[in-house]
Subunit: 119 residues, 2 copies
């Protein structure tokens, strides 16, 4: 049974890899990474996002200046076509993965209730 389970997981991996969502994401990711300026802008944006997220998680206050800076970066970044394509493909991919997760965590949810209760 364990073998069959892993086989099905590998089938799912392959289906994800062949999905239009993943192909589009891969292309968008490559386009940004091959464009030096786009990559730099995007990396800066991601770093700022992560810094702010970590601050929030550790209970630190995000200053108004930081919030404005993040907001401005989003606006600037979304005007860059390759970056805005990448962000859109990441969002689609993340929705797809979320969908798949909801399906495969259903057995545990049936047992324990909502997934967050499991942790």
């Amino acid at each position: 049974m364990a073998n069959n389970l892993h086989d099905v997981a590998y089938d799912l991996e392959k289906a994800i890899r062949n999905s239009e969502e993943y192909q589009t994401l891969t292309d968008a990711y490559k386009a940004v990474n091959e464009d030096e300026m786009a990559k730099k802008m995007f990396d800066n944006f991601r770093n700022l996002q992560m810094t702010l997220q970590q601050k929030q998680m550790s209970g630190e206050t995000i200053t108004e200046e930081e919030a404005q800076q993040a907001q401005q970066q989003v606006q600037v970044i979304q005007q860059h076509e390759a970056i805005s394509k990448l962000m859109a493909s990441e969002q689609r991919m993340s929705m797809l993965i979320n969908d798949l997760n909801n399906i495969i965590t259903k057995p545990l949810e049936d047992l324990y209730g909502k997934p967050e209760d499991l942790m």
Copy 2:
């Protein structure tokens, strides 16, 4: 393609549900929940675990007394056969889910590096 993807995810859900790991977990979970005292002991233990985890995550110090209390509860609880079976089945299930996750997150890992980088 999206349809095929979801079909494969449903296949995986079914395979998880039919797995020996899930069947054993379901039985162990029922056994504890049908035994009023075991359920109470286990719920207390889980609550203490969660309280300590939340303390840790919010950067609070866990007192020596609390650490000892948790340690003692683990020892007491593991002597209860139904509870120790449940804990062992949860561990097996969690290893299985971890395995499956490693397989299906491989495409994203190929793109972004380690999964923790994605968040």
